[in-house]
Amino acid sequence: MTQVNRIEGGYVDRRYQCTFHFNGKPMVGHKGDTLASALLANGQTLVGRSFKYHRPRGIFTAGSEEPNALVELREGAHQEPNTRATMVELFDGLKAKSQNHRGSLEHDLLAVNDLLSPFLSAGFYYKTFMWPKAFWEKLYEPVIRAAAGLGRLSMKEDPDSYDKGFLHCDLLVIGSGPAGLISALTAARAGARVILADEDFRFGGRLNSETYALGGMACGSWAEQAVSELNSMDNVRLMSRTTIYGAYDHGIYGALERKTDHLASAEGRPRQVLWRIYSRRAILAAGSTERPIAFPDNDRPGVMLSGAVRSYVNRFGVTPGQKISIFTNNDDGWRTASDLVAKGIDVNAIIDSRDIATVTQLDGVRVHMNTHVVGTIGRKALGAIKLSDGAIYPTNCLAVSGGWNPNVHLTCHQRGRPQWRDDLCAFVPGGELPVGMAVAGSANGSMTLAAAMAEAQEKTLAQLEALGISSKIEEVPQAEDEPRECAAFWHVKNDKKRAWVDLQNDVTVKDIKLANTEGFRSVELLKRYTTLGMATDQGKTSNIAGLAILAEESGKTIPEVGTTIFRPPYTPVPIGALAGRSRGKDFRPYRLTPSHRWASENGASFVNVGNWLRAEWYTKPGEKGWRDSVDREAKMTRESVGICDVTTLGKIDIQGRDAGEFLNRVYSNTFATLPVGKVRYGLMLREDGICYDDGTTARLDENHYVMTTTTANAVLVFRRLEFARQCLWPNLDVHLISTTDGWAQFAVAGPNSRALLRKVVDEKHDISNEAFPFMGCGRITVCGGTPARLFRISFSGELAYEIAVPARYGNSMMAVLNEAGAEFGAIPYGTEALGVMRIEKGHFTGNELTGQTTAHNVGLGKMVSQKKECIGNVLSQRPEMIREDAERLMGFRPVNRSEKLIAGSHFITKGDPTDMDHDQGWMTSVAHSPNLGHSIGLGFIKRGHERMGEVVRAVSPVHGKEMDVEIVSAHFLDPEGERLRG
């Protein structure tokens, strides 16, 4: 195919030829073309099928408001659905496919829907697929889903990368049309830091598509000159291909910059960048969008907005048709006729709905005033139009102009509410604008070139003054105040044929009337009932006409009916861009423990715990599954000695004269009496009296404590302590710092732990039971002078220590401990064995502290001191929280020892029915105890402490299982704690 519709002029670079494929058909265009202009140049007017009726559709606009020309771009994993051909920059090798048809674009099998249209009116689905109910999931929904939607996803992982960035400026100028350019020039010349952003790849906005004279030259040339001046200034950042998609609080704007979408390959660079722009002030110069007039069968390929026709002719050097007619309700439509005539394109007729005098005389152009287009002929392409006065014109392109709507979108992103202006027949920005924003140009209803530029300069000067930037007023370039009169004419009345209002969603005038008849009269309901203004174009060309027709039907004025307001984003933003780098393993980054390298070299499997990756077990040769490894680790630790990296527990360094008093207030038990060189277990409550976190705190010096928290709560506890320190007791002398990452810490547990440590700890430190008893702590040195801290604490219930060294020694320390322990058969153990041993000892963790657990539930009620001020102690005494019959933490074992307990089972007293009224509690944690040789569990059961030895039913309806279990002490091993004191 050749470029049958290519004409002279425009801003395409004819030196560069781009070969591209549409539905597999090779075509050529030029650099500077959009896919849409190149398709038109090649005479391809049919580009897609409509959403509901599968009607043939063509290119309707020349911008981001495009409702029809959506294509699937690129191939394979790079395939992107629903891209607007009017925004796709042509490159050599581009491949695009049309969407939403079954079979070929020319012969869509689902076009049968169009014949069924009498049944497919608004609310069809709501009314039809109501019964039988069972059909919905199995039949209706799958069929509707298969038929619905526009483009298809590739279903492959997105191979492109996306980035995020932050920018700062004095003035953000949104849009680079005449208003935006004059605003950027004014601010930049005054020395302000300016960002000028435009969604197009070419700056200039409508100036590129018009033939006005500006500053004594063609307006496009003036734009080029302005851009080149801005380009030369260091205080200006020009951002083309950048959509400002949202206006957020305090002058922050969201921007999507398309970095490589116009290239055949991103070549490893980020495809798009999501910017957060911090502006001190902003000028919204987003221009305006033309709207169509609804008339019967107005959706044929070839029917196009009048301003878009000018864009294709003037900017791209393409004529959308060989014989063009114009249907307008305003003066601007006439401009299209004169531009076309100037280019030597055959214009048949101007049809103007207004009963006024002819605007201009054009040679060879017939004029029909006070006339409407009442029908079109042709199916896959427009062939002719029929007029209300009976005339018929053969034409393959009809330029339609229903007036222009200011692009008020960003003004509504916070509290703005557009105001109706009768003289423009359009909404203009109103209400409270986003902080720091001023609107100028046609976005603000200043519809003529001269008015737009004058307003932009005036508003920019006011913004600069507010910023304290002085500027001298320069003359705005000489521009025209072209005729812009417009009539409120929205649709051609016709009761038989369909006239489209929203092309993207196939919403017709009839649908809107039906919605009104059925009572959906609020504009918000109209939108949801008919889907008017939904999907990728968000009704940029259809909302106002829909509103006007609703107003007409309900006998109200448009402002009485109201308007829908706009939320971000202005145009669609890919999920990939919003995600940025936060994908895959970077979606939720994790930290490595200090001994990670040693662990991975020694057979460890890893698990995510909080925001850490921890060793869960170490596999030895010959072990068949994880249970083998975990059983061995738990057994060997109790028989000899095991080593576990416990760095992930939160560590908070607490210093100051009042540190002891501070601890007294944040822990429920007493800390003021803790001697130097000792460690104490502490339980923290929330202010409502519920258990929050627990851990140990060591007193290293008179005014120096080290607190540990659970891994999961490390950040939260630290935050709370800072709150207590700054907001509750601001005069206590206490200082906090998190040292979680600063110290590598290892549990060395088991009967041989002291003997092992004796080989590592420097000789001068006495770690005998007498000199370093249970719950002792101190600063020591290891391996000949390396500073370390030693705590004699035990989570496993064995004779045990935790040894801490500066984190950089962590990996070596793990190796040293294991080497030193070789003669005892020392083993490293992971989180699973840790969990088994804590269940064997009845220690509660996150499974038990659910956010509903009281100290009373876990048997530590007496620990909560009522003799001092501390967080949570007052409300912990509420009657419901200390009920005698409350659930208590107990141990459980299966009566038939070979059975495996199930976590989550509920306890039912023998003989009671299995229902919630007879629920006695639930199993929180279970494990296989290699030391006892059977399954054990922890759980809460009512009055548990009085029911030792009772057999109850543990029921798990989820698993369809139940078994008899015996209530026992939670301390399965060494209940007297003799081992850890040995």
Partner: protein, 95 residues
Amino acid sequence: MLIDHPLLGTRDAAEFIYLGDVSLIDRPDWQAKDAMQQFHDYGYLRDNPAGAHQELWYHEQGDRSWLVVTRDTLTHEISKVELARDVARARGRDK
């Protein structure tokens, strides 16, 4: 949103953690006769004004200051930012 940190200048709200109403500073006296009722009210009862609201924000991705931010809940306009420690002292929090 942007928060004008009294020590660090203007910072993005994303660096902060929101807690809630400033009344959380006014922790009741644990020895008061009606301490239980007072703690109940302190813990559970909050005003939810449409308009100016004093609220606690924590600069977790920064210097760990707790701040009292006066923010209009309708417009998000921030009219005042103070160090919570100063506010606490002014409200009579002592040792």
